[in-house]
């Protein structure tokens, strides 16, 4: 079969790889009908996440048709149409029973490595380094889905792939980012990053009743998409984020702040971003945490910082004094996708939201390597790329 394979930094190739096989009785093989490039795939593309090996199949946002099931899989049958969440979960461990699916204790095949790096393991993820299990990803014609009797979401007829594909990652990720804020009707929610997760976080915050949603970015096309859902926007190339947020909140700062940027914040707007870039170059720091610093600084005391943006390792110069003295609550983590999928699927079905709004480019899987560059460079108004076999 054909797949997009990681061959090194900035080197994704459309290659022939062996077809996947059923390995465990609960597995399923899914024929991919639609997949996407996620912003967090760019951290792998740009070489910022450790643990990739040459030939690894990329992709963790995908859906398709079940073409084979293991003998113990009672949930799926051949022909089912499924969206597969990016977090692999067993459904039986203590964390899964608590609904903390992204930190499932059993699905990371490389638990020993994760234990050493993170202290304790997190869940296995599709196509996202050997630190999270080294599972082949979904930017491929076929994919093996382990523990396929737990996470995959069956999709009813009548809903297009484009409407439901993002149930596997960015929609629940934006939703959880907003839910973690425990939004109140008086809240101003500030969201850094108008990429796909930021867009879903903005819509989620609105649907969950935020008084005001403010989205921060520098690209006018992305800001225009944020404005479409009624968000106020701040272009950080043109104005001070801190001054503008304080102005919008009577000098008190936003109650809730969401970091939908993560480890690769833009270099160039402030001095600290150059500092981070320099330290990153000499490997004295792995991530660029400008957004974290700004959120901690501007957030209203006793407020909430929600961090769906992906961080990979070590950050520097975090104003922890401000964080502690202001009594901020930090909520973060990979998304517990299956906590939200049933509810969000119902919302899509009743027309409360149509997630396909975010798709700006649809290409064939074979064009994937070029689309990684287009997405990374934000060319041609690119916000979300969908790939089809």
């Amino acid at each position: 079969m054909k797949a997009l394979c990681w061959q090194g930094k900035h080197d994704i190739r459309y290659e022939t790889v062996p077809d996947p096989q059923i390995e465990e009785p609960r597995d399923a093989i899914v024929k991919m009908t639609c997949c996407a490039i996620c912003g967090s795939d760019l951290h792998l593309f740009d070489g910022f996440m450790p643990g990739m090996e040459k030939g690894d199949v990329m992709g963790h946002e995908f859906m398709g048709e079940v073409v084979e099931v293991g003998r113990d899989n009672k949930k799926l049958k051949v022909g089912d149409r499924v969206v597969v969440p990016f977090t692999i979960c067993c459904g039986e461990c203590e964390q899964c029973r608590l609904g903390n699916f992204s930190v499932c204790e059993r699905t990371n095949r490389n638990k020993e490595i994760a234990d050493k790096v993170f202290g304790h393991t997190t869940a296995g993820l599709f196509g996202y380094t050997h630190l999270t299990g080294g599972y082949a990803g979904g930017q491929a014609e076929y994919i093996r889905v382990p523990y396929a009797d737990v996470a995959p979401v069956k999709i009813p007829d009548g809903l297009s792939d484009e409407k439901v594909l993002f149930l596997g990652d960015i929609f629940p990720t934006g939703w959880q980012a907003a839910a973690q804020c425990d939004i109140q009707p008086t809240d101003t929610v500030a969201i850094w990053g108008a990429g796909p997760v930021g867009q879903f976080a903005a819509r989620s915050a609105l649907l969950l009743g935020a008084k005001e949603v403010v989205v921060i970015d520098r690209l006018p096309d992305r800001l225009s998409m944020a404005k479409a859902c009624g968000a106020l926007t701040i272009n950080f190339d043109k104005e001070s984020v801190v001054e503008r947020l304080n102005e919008l909140t009577g000098g008190k700062g936003p109650q809730k702040c969401i970091d939908a940027v993560g480890m690769e914040s833009h270099v160039g707007s402030t001095i600290d971003t150059f500092y981070d870039r320099a330290k990153q170059t000499v490997m004295a720091e792995s991530d660029r945490p400008h957004v974290l610093r700004e959120m901690i600084y501007v957030c209203r005391p006793a407020g909430v910082l929600s961090i769906p943006g992906v961080y990979g390792g070590l950050v520097d110069k975090i104003p922890f004094g401000a964080l502690m003295n202001k009594g901020l609550t930090v909520k973060t983590g990979q998304t517990h996708v299956n906590r939200w999928t049933d509810d969000l699927l119902a919302r899509i079905q009743k027309g409360q939201i149509d997630p396909s709004f975010v798709i700006t480019h649809t290409e064939s899987l074979s064009n994937g390597p070029e689309m990684y560059k287009t997405f990374r460079d934000k060319q041609d108004g690119c916000i979300k790329v969908v790939l089809k076999p």
Partner: protein, 201 residues
């Protein structure tokens, strides 16, 4: 209020710029790279030609029919080097386009100068016609390169308007809180004000 930057009518130049990128978005990165490679090639060519005009002024003057006008040729050599350095030092397609346009200006000056030599040739010199043909060819390349770079620069700056991409069936004010009818805030994600107020009593 709509941002005029996002809603203005696209000009013909805008359309060309967008077309340049969209025609085959999958190959846009390669094409941009190729144009910028060409610009760098022209930069190095400019420096090489300039050095030749500085170091072999007399011989070159004979070859192109400009005997007796060596100081002018020497000055043109300095100009060529300046253009070449400017092209190579330009950080992006916009600045590089300006630098390549400076080469086009120099080409015009070269053609005018060679034209005067052709109209009153020194019988002891070679004919400038070959030089005119060569400069005209390079000028065409310079113009094409400068125009493409300008289009690419505008394409890079061009914004797409997604202000119709709400993804929701009703205006934002009507969608505010629409999910609260069935949404239950998870217990482990509650930071409710009731808890804080309760702590005072």
């Amino acid at each position: 209020m709509a941002n005029p930057e996002l809603t203005r009518e696209p000009s013909q130049f805008d359309e060309k710029a967008k077309a340049l990128v969209r025609k085959a978005s999958s190959s846009s990165a390669r094409r941009i790279s190729a144009t910028r490679k060409l610009a760098r090639g022209l930069g190095w060519f400019s420096i090489g030609l300039g050095l030749a005009e500085l170091l072999a002024t007399r011989r070159l003057a004979q070859m192109v029919g400009l005997r007796g006008r060596e100081p002018l040729l020497f000055a043109y050599g300095l100009r060529e080097i300046a253009s070449g350095v400017a092209i190579l030092a330009s950080p992006g397609p916009k600045a590089q386009s300006v630098a390549v346009w400076s080469r086009v200006g120099g080409d015009a000056l070269d053609l005018a100068t060679l034209g005067t030599a052709a109209s009153g040739p020194n019988p002891r010199d070679a004919s400038p016609v070959a030089a005119i043909v060569a400069v005209a060819g390079v000028t065409a390349l310079d113009v094409a390169c400068a125009r493409t770079l300008a289009l690419e620069a505008q394409a890079a700056d061009a914004t797409t308007d997604y202000s119709d991409r709400a993804g929701m069936p009703s205006p934002p004010d009507q969608m505010r809180g629409a999910a609260l009818d069935t949404f239950v805030q998870p217990r482990d994600m509650r930071v409710s004000p009731e808890v804080r107020e309760g702590a005072l009593h």
